[in-house]
Amino acid sequence: MKGVLGETDSVQNSLFKQVLEPRQFHFPQDHLAHQAYKTEWWYFTGNLAEDDLEKNDLKKNKRKAKFSYQFTLFRFALRPDRVILENASSPGSQWHTNNIYMAHVALTDIQQQQVHQQERFSRDGLKLAGAEIKEDGVVQFWLNDWQVKSLQAHQLFPLQLDINNDQFALNLQLDVDKPMVLQGNHGLSQKNSKNASYYYSYTRLKSEGNIRINKNLYQVSGKSWFDREWSTSSLSDDQTGWDWFALHLDDGSDLMIYQMRKKDGIKDTYSSGLLIDAQGETQSLAAHQFQLEIKDFWISPVSGIRYPIKWEILIPDNNINLSVSSTVKAQEWSKKGGFSFNYWEGSINVKGLKNKQAVSGTGYLEMTGYD
């Protein structure tokens, strides 16, 4: 699909709506597609463990299987000035499209150190992909038969996530454990001096259901994270990429941190973070309030790209010192591996100190721009 996501020229870009000031969010409408903006995503990540095993298995001292998953739905708008030509006598083709949807699904089997990935593209014409409220009030995001459907009318949660492939399947029910949080400035996340996005998250979602890898079925439960973001442009010319962390700590708090990296390798001042305590109270973190230190690298045998897969997160004001490392190193999406983008997205284990207390947890790490 080379070229499908090719950049539209800047003139066209300027015709899309820009994210300039905070907005009043309305739900469930804002869970759906925002056609006036160029890019948008729905981002589910989570760590799951196999539910308690039968007693027989315990006797054999069999360890619980652990998994992590990623389901991301991207929307890329094609033209801001799109006018669907209406033929007076006929309703016109249902295939007309102004959005390309892309989905990435990854399922990591932590015990087996195996990663299963799938990428799909679709047009939104003929309703082959989209994000809509159906007539019956069901909120739905989908790309072909990869679907997220709300289980109640007019509200997103609880929802059912269904991904079926030949190789693996994910059938999960997600429900809120903590309320939604607005990132950045009331949901406006500034990425550099010019560009910003609208960004909100459900940081802790109770997750349970089934996963299947090949012919093995597992009943699982765990925690998921849901990020929503849309914008028209993100990186500035001197930015190369970002490192994004989403952590579930076992004291009930969650932490989101991202740093925008500049071409000279220095952390951009537009990096930021958000600390959410067990009760859902939030505290924003400015760039100067945290440090991210790389502790180890992994060089991908597929792409040859070097990714930092071990980090140390320091938030001195909050007495937080966390060590983060990947559960499986090869959680990479690469063009050489047959996908459309180069990035690393995978589950991580967290260990460290918070207020001098030992703390641990799980989470997800996303790294872009290392190629």
């Binding site: 070229g3 033209r79 033929n87 295939w95 003929l126 038969d145």
Partner: protein, 871 residues
């Protein structure tokens, strides 16, 4: 010894040329037809492959289009991934006015609508296409209507480049399309893909007015996974089928099989005539060298050596002939390909082939046929040479005496061959292809029988002609006929060659005329409505029918309000894919009195109409009955009334009549609207018939007004109307076009025979140079001598013409009653058109006359002394 052969042929280059030319033409015919058919097949296979890509299965609709919702369901509900939708439609491409210097400014192209997102799983050639798009090309393709991608060589051919506009004619309207990119087709597919204009499926739907429908869905499935195929089948609505790609394309390719077999048979006829040529020249070379061969025998050369010598010569000639035959054949194939492709398009399926394809088998076949035909024809002359006796050889009468004897002895195999023909015709047919093969065998066997009987009848005919010619031309007449008789061994070959080709031409001519007469007569009774309305797109090909659903209720209701309308009949074409074969069902709603359009094979057809209307009964066309061995009282089974998720079952329909129908070679099942509606729901009509009141029909002004109103009603619906008279006329035009290729081949066969008779005469001239010289010396003027030659050849022409008449009738009979019936299942009326007979006679005489021009001129110029001195 071999050197003497070389010297012999080098001294007579013309002789060599004719021997080579004869076989070369025969080989060229075989190669040309073989190659043209092969190219058509190959072209079809390539276009199937390039469309199918990696697909193993295909979902097709019985009405040629299927609802796009099926695609949505399969992808979004069933979760199939390796699946892609496609729209394919032949449209016309119009050159821009600034390219006016190109004469053919309208040509057929395939407008292809794809969904770029699902292509990669199915077709691979598009990969390059996406790469060729620069900047926001893919965005343009998706979001801007009327943008296309074309094959690179298409750009070159039409001097276009990216950014230019090209014009398509769709439903009589011109649509400008912007070329936003190109793709490089893999070489193997280039000839197919260069007429493809690829666009986004949304653009194509809007251009063609195909909203809501697509042509097909291609899928990659695990072939052994029957659970999956069953699961998919349950998703499909009525009259939509999941078929295997290879069985479907085989079924389509099979449609034109009979047509191709007929062509092949015709090419062998050409080769047969060519065999006369080689026989003639080889025999002549032997006879001419009798003294030389006799001397060799005296010198101790064995019979076997002489036999080998002649066969070696034949082998050498064969080599030369096959070489030039292949070259000629390729040239011929170019011409024939055009006709073959057009006929296939007219009658069978959409096909665009511009490139010749060949394979080793074609070449090997040509070598095998050329070689065996040459060696077989040279066998007799070689034996003749081998049995040359040293003394007797010098006396020509020996050979002639033998020929005399043969002409009687050949009666026996001739009569035996006749018996064999009867026997072959009475072999019960179990397999259609075998039946056709036996049919062709009977044709060739009867030609053989004729050839055997020819000398006998020719002798008596000549005996009679001697008297006539003497009456007409006095002494020269008598001498001329006597000359033929005296050199009977050679003249009979010339006569035979001419007779076979003229009678073949006559036989084919009678067959075509009979066929045309039958079709004409049938159309006269079959077309009942006064006007027909059909899709405007379907003029180019009968395969693509019912493209849209333009016959909505509104239109029909409007039509019925037109003044002068008595009845509106309707026709729906439905296609079933059963047991790897397409079965065509025609659903008719016609006024009761129009049922008389059907003429049934059975004598008692009084109850047919009632059953057809009211029972679960159908009538079937004659070719359908023949193809599937069905008769009145049998049943046909059709998949009916399938609700989603239900396993389809087959409903039996009783056959109550077999009717004459020449509209489809595949045959059709014919069902009344009421019967159809009991089992199916789809009502997409393909054509309407309008019956007018006499009041309108008898008043030209009213009729013209009616036509204007009709045009107004259907405008903008990609429909067109045609009067009964014009439809009749158009059908016959297509009929005639179909037989153009037959005429081309007929002419070629005649040309071969013309060369044959010319060689024979040249041989006679050369051999009798001395004889003629004596005649000249004894006072015959040059003019008289050439008159003598003309009388002689004309006499031969007359013999051929007379004998070709009965032979032509027999051949026509076999072609009509055996070949055509066995190939297509059509029975025809047998007519003897006088103009064909006159043409055949004229042809024989003209060929004879033309063949005499050069020898007559040459001999009359020859100085008698020169010829005599040659001794």
């Amino acid at each position: 010894m071999y050197r003497s052969s070389v010297r012999y042929y080098l001294k007579r280059p013309l002789h060599l040329l004719f021997s080579v030319l004869g076989v070369a033409l025969g080989v060229a015919l075989v190669v040309g037809i073989d190659m043209a058919s092969h190219s058509a097949r190959q072209g079809f296979a390539l276009s199937t492959q390039s469309i199918a890509g990696k697909a193993t299965h295909r979902i097709v609709g019985s009405e040629h289009l299927l609802p796009e919702s099926i695609y949505f369901k399969l992808r979004n509900e069933l979760g199939l991934r390796k699946i892609s939708p496609l729209i394919k439609q032949t449209v016309q491409f119009k050159m821009d006015s600034n390219h006016a210097e190109i004469k053919m400014n309208i040509s057929d192209v395939q407008l292809i609508g794809i969904d770029p997102f699902s292509e990669a799983e199915i077709r691979t050639w598009q990969q390059g296409m996406m790469d060729s798009l620069t900047g926001d090309g893919i965005h343009q393709l998706l979001t801007q209507t009327n943008t296309v991608l074309v094959e690179k060589s298409f750009l070159k051919q039409h001097e276009l480049s990216t950014g230019d506009t090209l014009s398509l004619v769709i439903n009589d309207k011109i649509h400008p399309l912007l070329i936003i990119g190109f793709f490089n087709a893999p070489e193997a597919y280039q000839s197919q893909l260069k007429t493809w204009l690829i666009s986004d499926i949304s653009t194509v739907q809007d251009l063609l007015n195909f909203q809501g429908v697509i042509s097909q869905i291609d899928l990659v499935l695990e072939t052994e996974n029957e659970f999956q195929t069953e699961q998919i089948k349950q998703f499909l609505p009525e009259s939509v089928d999941l078929v295997k790609v290879d069985t479907q394309s085989k079924a389509i390719a099979r449609l034109s099989q009979s047509f191709e077999l007929n062509l092949t048979a015709l090419s062998f006829l050409g080769l047969l005539v060519a065999m006369f040529l080689i026989y003639n020249t080889m025999m002549f070379s032997v006879v001419q060298r009798r003294d030389l061969l006799a001397r060799m025998r005296v010198l101790g050369v064995s019979r076997y050596d002489l036999f080998r010598l002649i066969l070696a010569e034949a082998f050498f000639i064969a080599l030369l002939s096959i070489g030039s035959g292949l070259v000629l054949g390729i040239g011929l194939a170019h011409i024939l390909l055009y006709f073959v492709t057009r006929t296939i398009n007219d009658l069978y399926y959409v096909l665009q082939v511009t490139q010749l394809h060949w394979n080793y088998i074609i070449v090997l076949k040509a070598i095998a046929f050329g070689m065996s035909a040459t060696l077989l024809s040279a066998l007799m002359p070689a034996l003749e040479a081998a049995y040359t006796r040293p003394v007797m050889a010098l006396q020509r009468t020996h050979l002639e005496a033998k020929v005399n004897l043969w002409s009687h002895r050949l009666l026996v195999p001739g009569l035996l061959a006749c018996l064999l023909v009867f026997a072959i015709l009475n072999i019960p047919i179990e397999d259609k292809t075998n039946g056709m093969m036996l049919g062709f065998t009977s044709v060739f066997m009867s030609i053989a029988a004729f050839i055997f009987l020819l000398p006998f009848f020719s002798r008596y005919l000549l005996f009679f002609l001697a008297i006539v010619m003497k009456q007409l031309f006095k002494l020269p007449g008598k001498i001329a006929v006597n000359n033929i008789v005296r050199s009977f061994s050679r003249s009979i070959v010339a006569i035979a060659a001419l007779t076979v080709s003229v009678s073949s031409a006559l036989g084919i001519g009678i067959m075509v005329e009979s066929f045309r007469f039958t079709v004409d007569d049938w159309l006269l009774g079959y077309l009942k409505a006064d006007y027909f309305i059909g899709s405007a797109n379907n003029s180019r090909s009968s395969h693509v029918k019912g493209l849209v659903e333009p016959f909505d209720k509104q239109l029909i209701s409007n039509l019925s309000k037109l003044s002068g309308i008595d009845y509106i009949s309707s026709d729906q074409e439905v296609r079933f894919f059963i047991d790897d074969q397409y079965h065509h069902l025609t659903v008719l709603d016609i006024p009761e009195k129009s049922f008389s359009a059907f003429h049934f094979k059975q004598k008692d057809d009084s109850s047919v109409q009632q059953s057809w209307l009211n029972d679960d009964a159908v009538i079937i066309s004659e070719p359908y009955a023949y193809r599937y061995g069905l008769a009145v009282g049998d049943k046909v089974y059709l998949p009916v009334n399938k609700k989603q998720g239900e396993i389809p079952f087959k409903q039996a329909f009783k056959i109550v009549g077999v009717y004459y129908h020449y509209g489809s070679e595949q045959g059709v099942i014919n069902m009344s609207r009421t019967t159809y509606n009991r089992h199916w729901h789809s009502g997409k009509l393909n054509a309407l018939g309008l019956y007018l009141s006499n009041e309108v029909l008898q008043n030209q002004e009213k009729q013209a007004q009616f036509e204007r109103q009709l045009q107004l009603l259907i405008s903008g619906r990609s429909l067109r109307f045609i009067s009964r008279k014009d439809l009749h006329k158009q059908s016959l035009i297509i009929f005639d076009r179909t037989f153009k290729i037959t005429n081309v081949l007929k002419l070629l066969v005649i040309f071969v025979s013309f060369v044959g008779i010319l060689t024979a005469l040249m041989a006679i001239e050369l051999e009798r140079a001395r004889e003629f010289a004596i005649l000249r010396a004894t006072g015959l003027t040059g003019k008289q001598l050439s008159a003598l030659i003309y009388i002689e050849t004309l006499t031969m022409g007359i013999v051929a013409a007379v004998l070709a008449m009965p032979m032509g009738i027999v051949l026509a009979y076999l072609l009509i009653e055996v070949i055509n019936y066995r190939s297509f299942g059509w029975s025809m009326q047998f007519i003897l058109p006088w103009n064909e007979f006159i043409m055949a006679g004229a042809l024989a005489l003209l060929a004879a006359f033309l063949a005499a021009v050069y020898p007559a001129w040459h001999l009359s110029k020859t100085q008698p002394t020169l010829a005599l001195r040659g001794e």
